[in-house]
Every structure is written in structure tokens, then in C-alpha cells.
Amino acid sequence: MRSLRTLFLILALAASAPAFADLNVFSCEPHWTALVNEIGTSHVNVTTATGAFNDPHFIQARPSLISAMRKADLVVCNGADLEVGWLPVLMQQGARDTVQPGQPGYLEGSQYIQLLQVPSRVDRAQGDIHPYGNPHFQTDPRVITAVAPELAQRMAQLDPANAAEYQKRYADFKTRWDAAVVKWTQEAAPLKGMKLIGYHDGWVYMSNWLGIDMVGFLEPKPGIPPSPSHLADLLATIKSQGVAGIIYTPYEDEQAPEWLSQRGGVPVAQIPDTVGADNDKDLFQFYDLMVNQLLKLHGGGK
């Protein structure tokens, strides 16, 4: 009798063990994680491959990510070859048929927006360029606006039991989001025409959104680190063009931007290109941070 009671106790404990999430999501970048969490809340379990502190081109295909891929119901990535150095290995070794390209379980943000800087000529002598266009598009919040309905629809499709809740959460998010985008756009209005120098050519969507003019990059060509002669050219650019400041992401080395800032006498700012570098916990806080940093630069770095 006692042993039977023990057995029931064990069964009850096993049943009360943390339930598996309804939807396992593999997210390539933190901005997608934030968006999935907005729509999915407690129904989703998200693994994020990259962070605000690492260059999404160059992470290692860590085996833990293969394990996450094996369980994924949905893969969400920027696409456009941003993750070409590691995602194909994870897809191949995770060997999960429902998340292969073309399946509902595979979502590339790049397919739902208009990519900029699509090269007319593809030659690696131009550096590590992306033949489909510039994949660093999350620096424009309107990209989130464009991808979110598709994401909500996919989540509903893959997890029908919670479909109604996903759609409801998405509708609520959309209301708040559209208002926030209007707010950021207004706040950033003074930035129109501001000239900046970036580290990597990853800011074209932000500059397109806010009318900022990126007049140069620390990398002489995409993927090639700054060289002394190129920095000297940039110093001349700063003087001749009236550059307002220099920006770089948390995963880029601060030495060259700091050096250029001191020599050129212009402010420098570290501006993250995805969620989670500072105290920003969601998409709203991330774009708040980005706009504030840019406004600070505009005000002379104070």
C-alpha cells in the first residue's frame, strides 16, 4: 500500500515537471527572439544563436545549436546569406525536415522586405559582399512591422492549439508597435542629413529610414579590418564633409573608432544593432536606445 502511494507520488512529480513548450523556436538573432516572445509569451521556448556582442557573420557552428535545431519547430533568421558561414551546417546536421528552407518552419526575414544595396556585380575583390543585398536590415524598425504578421501567421500554423492567442498577441503588439515607430520617426527627425562614419557597412537601413548620410566606413571593404592608410583617408573625409560622429557596434573593436574620434575631433558612439547589448530587454527598448544614442551624437556626443 505504501509502495503504491510512493509510486503515485513519483508519477505526480513526473507529471508536474516543467511542461515542454508548445513551440520550440530557433532564432538566429536576438531581435527575432524578442519578436517571437512578444507574440508567443509563455508558449514558446527560444534558442538564440547570436547575441548583441558577437558578429553574426562569424559565430561557430556550436554543437549545442545543432541540438537546438533538432528540436526546433520554427527557425527565424535574417537570411540573405548573413548566416551563410554557420547556419547551413546546423540545418544539415540538425537534420530536421520541417525546418528546411521552403517549409513553413523556416522563416527568413529577408524575403518579406526590400533588400538594399543589391550588388550589380559580385566579386570578392570588393570584400565580403552579399549577393542578395545588405542583410543588416534590423536597424530599421519598419522591417519588424513587415515581418511580424508573417511570423504570427507561421506560429499559428505550426501550433494551432494556441493560434488564437498568437493572433491576439500579434494584434496587441501591432498597435503598440505602429505607435512606437511613429514616435521614433518623429524623435529622430532632427537627424535628417546628419553625416556619420560606421565601422562595417551595416547601417544602410537605418540611414535610409532616418535620412542619415553614411559617408564612410572604417573597414576599407566589407570584412577587411581598418588599415592605417584607410583611417588617414577617413580623417580627411571627417574634415572635408563635416562628419557628426562615428558609430560602431558592441562586437566591433573600439580602438580604431576611438582613435579616429580623437584625431578627427568628432564624437564616437557604440550603437548596438540588435537587442540585448545594454539594459534593453525588448524591441521597444532597443530602438529607444538606438534613437537616443544617435540623438546624443547629433548633439555633439553629450
Binding site: 562569424f58 541540438s67 526590400q114 519598419r142
Partner: protein, 411 residues
């Protein structure tokens, strides 16, 4: 002002949502496989008195040896990679190199791999590198040194591949846990000969990996390879030069060659940001036992002559290496290699190659390399090589460049 920005915003949103309906990007050659060409060339300098490649205590296969003296075209490859359909993906590589004026082209890899088996199973079929250990399946262009560790050179002919099949199962755990079994035809060293009913080498392995914080990942594996050899050829001790593969007139081995391997790798990069700075520690231990018979070239097993001797051999090999990328583009690496062997040969035929008991071949290596982009690398390496009886100073300069599509790298 406010109205104008609202209009601009509305226009922007319209443009973006119009794009949302656009078809996925496709170009006319969208179905062509990814094609890549990797070129690997060396310039090497060795003391002339070193003569030929010998590692006392070991019979070396045709893949052993250093790059040729002076200028050489190393293991270069033409890769094709694509999905066949929704169930299968595949990879093909032709490798070509030049050796003493002879060009050779061979099928390095040609395999298909399943994408849609249930429950974490995956099958690979074709010709592929065995997943034995850590270093065996790594392509030559991602090696951290010009040459393979001595243990791989002596026991696996640098890198073991053959036609075969592999089955793996990835456990549904957060910790990476992979079990695998492989069966190969067994034509190549450490197997050899074709009389195995088409299955002369098998390998079992388990691999385990975990992330530690956001900066480190460790990866460990255990492997057991069991190979059968029939008249497996080896280098002679005559006048062969480095890596002269035509000189396989050494002892022929018939018997079993069983290898146990343990490997451990630790990769570290602050916040996982590999591009700026990283450190990789790698070590492997291999234990091999061989048992069978030896005969000289003129007296292969099966021929009517009495030249065969009984042979049992026990060998250990290990290496430890570290590479440090202290800033983008630049890395330094150090490696230490060591082998030991204990061979017993009973009979009239006593090949000189196996008279190595008590001698421990070892080597210290240092390298520095520069990668202008992820598609080009130039490396300078120095070996203090005491794998032979005469210590040798070896200097190698290597370039590795890749054009076209290039498959993503495994961990």
C-alpha cells in the same frame, strides 16, 4: 513637420509591404550547386640529409609524408554542394595535387546525407571522411597546421576515408550528444586490400559538447575503429624522398588494426565573438593495437613462399595544440606530438621499420598565420621534427585560398 514625417512613414510602410509580396530572391542559376575551389600550395625546406620519411616503429601508408621540398601544390579541391531534393543533401569534392612532376586527381569526397529522417537519425552514404576522432573529418584547408599530427600520419595515413555508410543518432537533449556507427569498404590504410567482402573497416563513436557561459564551448569524443588489412602496403626504407608515393616497397601487413581515440577541444572567444579574438585548445590520444603477419613485397600473403613473420604491435600517439587569434586576421599556434610503439615480430623477416621499440618519435611545431579575409590565409610553420632518428628543422610556407561558394565550417 509632424504631418510630413507621418506621410514619409506611410510611404515607407507601403513600400515595405509591397516588397512583402515579392517572391523569394531567385536568379537564373538558382538550382546550380554551390561551386567552390580551394587552392592550397606550399613552399617547404628540409635538411637534405633527412632523406626519406621514416618514423621508427611504424609502417607508413601512402598518405604519410611531408609536402615536397621547395614549391608544391598541396591538397587543393573542387567542391560541389547542394540539396538533391527535400530528403537528401550532398557534397562532392575532387582533390588534386602535384607531386614530383606528377599531377593526380582523385575523388576525395562524394556523399549524400539524409535531411528528413525522424527522431534525430541521419544516414550518410558514399565516400567520406570517417568521424573518427576530431581531426580526421576536418578538411585540409581548415587544419591549424600545414601537416596532420604524427598520430594521424602514422596510424590513419593522415586522414582516413573510404566508400561506406554512416548512421548517427542525435539525442534529444540540450547537451549535444551524438552516437554514430560507420562501415567502410576498407580499401585504404589502416585497412587495405579488397578481400573483406567489401567491408574492411568499422568505426563507432560518441561525441558530447556543451557551452560554458557565452564565451566557451567544449567538445569531447570517443572513437573505436576496427580495420582489417590484407597485404596493406607501406613505405620502404630505401632511397625514397619525402612523400614519394611510388616507393611503397616496405612490409605488407595482413591482419587487424584497432584504434581507440579520445579527443577534447575547448574553444573560447569573449562573448562568442570569434572574429575579434579567440583561443582554441585541442588534444587527442590514440591507442592502436595491430596483430597479424608481415611479409616483404616479393612475398605477399597468398603467394607460395615462406617469408611471412608474425607481428603484434601496440602503439600510442597523442598531441596537444593551441591556437590563439589575438586580433582579427592574425593567429599563432603551438603543437606538441608524441608517439610510442612496442612491436614484436617473430620470424625470419624482420623489417627495419618496426625496430623502434624504446624510441619515442616526437615533434614541436609553431605556426603563425594571416587571413586577409575568410577566403585567404597565408601560414608560416616551423617544425622541430624528431619523429625520425635524425632531428630535422622543417620550415613551411603555405597559402590557402577559396573562391566561389564555400560550405560552412563545422565546429
Amino acid at each position: 513637420m509632424r504631418i510630413r514625417s507621418l506621410i514619409a512613414l506611410a510611404l515607407g510602410l507601403t513600400a515595405l509591404s509591397a516588397a512583402a509580396q515579392a517572391a523569394p530572391q531567385n536568379s537564373g542559376n538558382a538550382f546550380n550547386p554551390g561551386i567552390g575551389l580551394v587552392l592550397n600550395g606550399t613552399w617547404a625546406s628540409y635538411p637534405t640529409e633527412a632523406g626519406h620519411r621514416q618514423i621508427p616503429g611504424f609502417m607508413l601508408g601512402d598518405g604519410a609524408g611531408l609536402p615536397p621540398q621547395g614549391f608544391g601544390l598541396g591538397e587543393s579541391e573542387l567542391d560541389l554542394a547542394s540539396n538533391f531534393d527535400n530528403l537528401f543533401t550532398g557534397f562532392g569534392a575532387l582533390s588534386f595535387h602535384e607531386n614530383h612532376g606528377q599531377d593526380s586527381v582523385e575523388v576525395e569526397l562524394a556523399y549524400l546525407q539524409t535531411l528528413a529522417m525522424p527522431d534525430g537519425f541521419q544516414v550518410t552514404a558514399g565516400k567520406f571522411f570517417s568521424s573518427f576522432g576530431y581531426q580526421n573529418a576536418r578538411h585540409a584547408h581548415v587544419w591549424d597546421f600545414v601537416d596532420q599530427p604524427l598520430a594521424y600520419e602514422a596510424m590513419l595515413n593522415n586522414q582516413y576515408s573510404d566508400p561506406g555508410m554512416q548512421l548517427t543518432w542525435l539525442a534529444p537533449t540540450d547537451t549535444y550528444l551524438l552516437f554514430g556507427a560507420e562501415a567502410f569498404s576498407g580499401d585504404n590504410f589502416p585497412a587495405g586490400g579488397a578481400a573483406h567482402s567489401g567491408n574492411g573497416a568499422n568505426n563507432l563513436f560518441v561525441k558530447l559538447s556543451q557551452d560554458v557561459g557565452d564565451s566557451s564551448t567544449w567538445f569531447a569524443g570517443l572513437s573505436y575503429m576496427s580495420a582489417r588489412a590484407f597485404n596493406r602496403p607501406s613505405f620502404g626504407d630505401g632511397d625514397a624522398e619525402f612523400s614519394d608515393q611510388s616507393d611503397l616497397d616496405g612490409p605488407l601487413f595482413t591482419g587487424t588494426s584497432n584504434i581507440v581515440g579520445a579527443d577534447f577541444v575547448w574553444k573560447w572567444a569573449p562573448h562568442g565573438n570569434f572574429y575579434e579574438k579567440n583561443f582554441v585548445f585541442q588534444t587527442e590520444f590514440l591507442h592502436r593495437s595491430e596483430r597479424g603477419t608481415l611479409s616483404n613485397v616479393g612475398c605477399a600473403v597468398g603467394n607460395a613462399c615462406n617469408g611471412a613473420s608474425a607481428y603484434t604491435g601496440s602503439a600510442n600517439g597523442w598531441y596537444v595544440q593551441g591556437t590563439y587569434q589575438w586580433m582579427p586576421q592574425w593567429r599563432v599556434g603551438l603543437r606538441y606530438d608524441r608517439l610510442t610503439s612496442d612491436n614484436t615480430v617473430t620470424g625470419f623477416y624482420q623489417p627495419g621499420q618496426l625496430l623502434g621499440n624504446g624510441f619515442a618519435p616526437h615533434r614541436e611545431s609553431a605556426m603563425v598565420d594571416f587571413s586577409n579575409s575568410e577566403f585567404s590565409r597565408i601560414r608560416l610553420q616551423y617544425n622541430r621534427d624528431q619523429s625520425g632518428l635524425i632531428p630535422a628543422n622543417e620550415v613551411m610556407l603555405q597559402y590557402i585560398v577559396a573562391m566561389g561558394a564555400h560550405p560552412a565550417h563545422t565546429f
